[in-house]
C-alpha cells in the first residue's frame, strides 16, 4: 500500500499546491483541540494588546466602597479587597503573563539554541563540555532553579523573565542539539558541501530551517510552562510586585480570603489554567501537523 500512497504523496505537478504554512494550518484544522488552543491564544493576544481599550477600569484603581463584591453588572467578575475590578486586572494580567511567557522562552531559545547548535554541529569536546553543564542544570528541578535565580536577582518583571528563561535553557539546548545532529548526517548537507557551501551557510540555510519543527513545538509548550513558572514565582513573592496584576500574584493576594470570597482566586486560577491548556493543545496539534511522517 505504501507504494500507492507514496505515489500519491509524491504529488503531481498538475495539482494545486499549498504553501508550508497553509499546509500546517490545513492539518491543524483537523484537530478540534488544537484549533481551540489556537483561537484562544489569538484572542488572548488580542486582549493583551488592546488591554487599555478593553478593560473597563484601570487595573490599579481602588474603590473601597465596592471591595469584595461578587460579580455584578458593574463589575463582571467582581472586585478584590481594595475594590479593584478583577476583570480589568485579568485583562492587564494577560499582557504580563504573555510577555513573561514569550520573552522567557525567547531567552531560553536563543541561549539554549546557540549552545545546542554549536554542540551538535562541532561535536567532540565542545559538545561534551556544553552538554555536561546542561546535564548538571537539568538535574536541578526547573522551578527550584528559577526560584534560586529569581532570589539572587531580586523581584521584578525583567528579572522574572530572566529567571524563568535561564532555568529552561537546558531543555532547548538538548532539543536543538538532537535535531542538528540528525540533520547534519543527511545527504543534502553533504550535497551542499559538495558545491562549496561554507559551514555558516550550511547551518543557516540547511540545518536550522530543517530543525524548526521540534523547536516550534517545544517553544509552544515552553510558553505554557514559563507562564506557570512565572505565576508560581509571583505567588511566593519572588516575581511581579503589587500593584501589577500578574495572575500568579493575584492568586497569591486572594488566597487569604479564599473561604469567604472564592472569586478572588477562582478567576485568576481559571485564566492560568485555560491559557496553559490552550498552549498545550496547540503544541500537541503542531507536533502532529509538523510531522512529515503523518502527511496524508
Amino acid at each position: 500500500m505504501n507504494n500507492a500512497i507514496a505515489a500519491a504523496d509524491r504529488g503531481y505537478t498538475g495539482r494545486k499546491r499549498r504553501g508550508t504554512l497553509a499546509q500546517v494550518l490545513f492539518r491543524l484544522r483537523k484537530s478540534p483541540l488544537a484549533m481551540f488552543g489556537l483561537i484562544f491564544i489569538v484572542c488572548l493576544t488580542f486582549v493583551a494588546i488592546f488591554a487599555d481599550v478593553l478593560a473597563p477600569y484601570p487595573y490599579q484603581k481602588q474603590n473601597l466602597v465596592h471591595s469584595f463584591e461578587t460579580p455584578t453588572k458593574q463589575f463582571l467578575l467582581g472586585t478584590d479587597e481594595f475594590g479593584r475590578d478583577i476583570l480589568s486586572r485579568l485583562i492587564y494580567g494577560a499582557r504580563i503573563s504573555l510577555q513573561v511567557g514569550i520573552i522567557a522562552v525567547g531567552i531560553a531559545l536563543i541561549v539554549g539554541g546557540m549552545l545546542g547548535a554549536v554542540a551538535g554541529y562541532y561535536g567532540g569536546w565542545t559538545d561534551n563540555a556544553i552538554m555536561r553543564v546542561m546535564d548538571v542544570l537539568l538535574s536541578i528541578p526547573q522551578t527550584l532553579l528559577a526560584i534560586a535565580i529569581a532570589a539572587a536577582l531580586g523581584p521584578g518583571l525583567f528579572n522574572l523573565m530572566i529567571a524563568v528563561g535561564i532555568s529552561a535553557v537546558p531543555n532547548y539546548a538538548r532539543i536543538v542539539r538532537g535535531s542538528v545532529l540528525s540533520i547534519r548526517e543527511m545527504e543534502f548537507v553533504e550535497a551542499a558541501r559538495a558545491v562549496g557551501s561554507s559551514d555558516l551557510r550550511i547551518i543557516l540555510k540547511h540545518i536550522i530551517p530543517n530543525s524548526m519543527a521540534p523547536i516550534i513545538v517545544q517553544s509552544t509548550l515552553g510558553v505554557a510552562s514559563a507562564i506557570l513558572n512565572a505565576a508560581g514565582l509571583s505567588f511566593i513573592g519572588l516575581g511581579i510586585q503589587p500593584p501589577y496584576p500578574e495572575w500568579g500574584a493575584m492568586l497569591s493576594g486572594g488566597r487569604q480570603y479564599i473561604r469567604d470570597y472564592a472569586h478572588l482566586t477562582l478567576y485568576p486560577g481559571l485564566a492560568i489554567m485555560l491559557t496553559i491548556l490552550a498552549l498545550n493543545f496547540l503544541g500537541d496539534g503542531l507536533r502532529d501537523a509538523l510531522d512529515p511522517k503523518l502527511k496524508r
Partner: protein, 344 residues
C-alpha cells in the same frame, strides 16, 4: 474481464483466484485507485510473478490477499479472493488470523525491519509455529532449529539476535518464519531487492529449492524481469493498478504484446548488446488519484489510437493463456513484432 475465468486452467487446480478486485485509498486529497478490476489465477505448485513499477499496485494486491490493507484509508470496493474455493473477503477476522501465516505466508522486502530486534531468531520462528499448531514450547523451539537448518543457518546460531546476522541471513530467517507452518501460498514482496547480487542469487536459489520441497505456490512481486525469468511460471504485468498482460512466462518473454510490457523490456540495459541509447517509455506514471480516461497507458503509448482515450480496453485472449489489455496490439496478431520490441 470475464473472459479470463476458467479458461486456461480447470477450476479445481486453482489455489487462488482473484476476481475483479478493486482497492482504493480514500484520503483527504482524493481517492487513490490502487488496484482496479484485478484478476489473477494461481494454480497449485505454481509461481506467479507480478511485475510493475513503484505505485503499480503490486504491494496493495498482496496486502489485499492477506486482508492486511490498512483501513482507513484503504477500502476493498469490490471483488472476490477465492483461496481454496473460499472467499477470503467474507472471512471473519479470527478466521483470517488462522489463515495468515498458517495457509498464506508473506515475505516482506526489508529483512532489516521485518524481524523483531529484541527477540532471538529461534523464538521468532517458534512463535509462528505455536500460533498455528498445538505444540509445546520446547517442541516449537526444536522445530524452529530444524527450519533454520533448512534455510542454511547452523543450529548453534539459533539463539542469536537478528542484528548478529547479515542481510542475506536475515532474509533466510524471514523465509524460515514464512515456511514454518507449511503454507500453501507464499507471497514474497520484493524479497531480494534490499540484497546484493551474489546474496540475491543465494536467496533465490534457496527459495526455488524450498518451494519445490514444500510444494507451495508462490506469488513473487518484483520489478526485476530477470528474477521472473529465473523462477516464475506465469507473469502478470501491472500498470497503474491494472493487469495489462498476463501470460505463461515463455509466451510473455518471446512475444510481449502490451506496449507497456515492451517498453519495460527495452528499458533494461542489455548485457549482450551494445546500445548507445536505451529505448524509453516517454512520460511518467500517472497520478493514481487522477488516472487518464480509457486505457491508463494511452498518454505514453506509441500505438495509441483515438479510441484508447475513450474506452477501457477489453482483456483479450490472443492465444491460450495469454491475455492482454490492448485491443490494438492484440488485433495486430502475433506475427508482427512491435518496433524494437522483439527479443531474441
Amino acid at each position: 474481464m470475464t473472459e479470463i475465468q476458467g479458461k486456461f486452467n480447470p477450476e479445481s487446480a486453482l489455489l487462488l483466484d482473484v476476481r475483479d478486485l478493486t482497492i482504493q485509498y480514500v484520503t483527504d486529497n482524493g481517492t487513490v485507485h490502487a488496484v482496479e478490476n484485478l484478476n489473477l489465477q494461481l494454480g497449485r505448485g505454481e509461481t506467479l510473478g507480478v511485475v510493475g513499477e513503484t505505485g503499480a499496485g503490486k504491494t496493495t494486491t498482496a496486502l489485499g490477499i492477506m486482508r492486511l490493507i490498512p483501513s482507513p484509508p484503504g477500502v476493498v470496493r469490490a471483488g472476490e479472493i477465492l483461496f481454496e474455493g473460499e472467499d477470503l473477503l467474507k472471512k471473519s477476522e479470527p478466521e483470517m488470523r488462522a489463515i495468515r501465516g498458517g495457509k498464506i505466508a508473506m515475505i516482506f522486502q526489508d529483512p532489516m525491519t521485518s524481524l523483531n530486534p529484541v527477540m532471538t531468531v529461534d523464538r521468532q520462528i517458534a512463535e509462528m509455529i505455536s500460533l498455528h499448531r498445538s505444540v509445546s514450547d520446547s517442541e516449537a523451539l526444536t522445530l524452529a532449529g530444524d527450519m533454520l537448518e533448512l534455510v542454511g543457518i547452523k543450529r548453534e546460531r539459533m539463539h542469536d539476535y537478528p542484528h548478529q546476522f547479515s542481510g542475506g541471513m536475515k532474509q533466510r530467517v524471514v523465509i524460515a518464519i514464512a515456511l514454518a507452518c507449511d503454507p500453501g501460498l507464499l507471497i514474497a514482496d520484493e524479497p531480494t531487492t534490499a540484497l546484493d547480487v551474489t546474496i540475491q542469487a543465494q536467496v533465490l536459489e534457496l527459495m526455488k529449492k524450498l518451494k519445490q520441497q514444500f510444494n507451495a505456490s508462490m506469488i513473487l512481486i518484483t520489478h526485476d524481469l530477470g528474477i521472473v525469468a529465473d523462477i516464475c511460471d506465469h507473469v502478470a504485468i501491472m500498470y497503474a493498478g491494472r493487469v495489462v498482460e498476463y501470460a505463461e512466462k515463455r509466451a510473455l518473454y518471446s512475444r510481449p504484446l502490451h506496449p507497456y510490457t515492451i517498453g519495460l523490456f527495452n528499458s533494461v540495459p542489455d548485457l549482450d548488446e551494445d546500445r548507445e541509447e536505451l529505448a524509453v517509455i516517454p512520460g511518467l506514471m500517472p497520478d493514481p488519484m487522477d488516472l487518464p480516461t480509457g486505457c491508463t497507458f494511452h498518454p505514453r503509448c506509441t500505438f495509441a489510437a483515438e479510441e484508447c482515450s475513450k474506452k477501457k480496453p477489453d482483456v483479450l485472449e490472443v492465444e491460450p493463456g495469454h491475455f492482454v489489455a490492448c485491443p490494438i496490439r492484440a488485433g495486430l496478431g502475433l506475427g508482427k513484432p512491435a518496433t524494437g520490441g522483439e527479443r531474441k
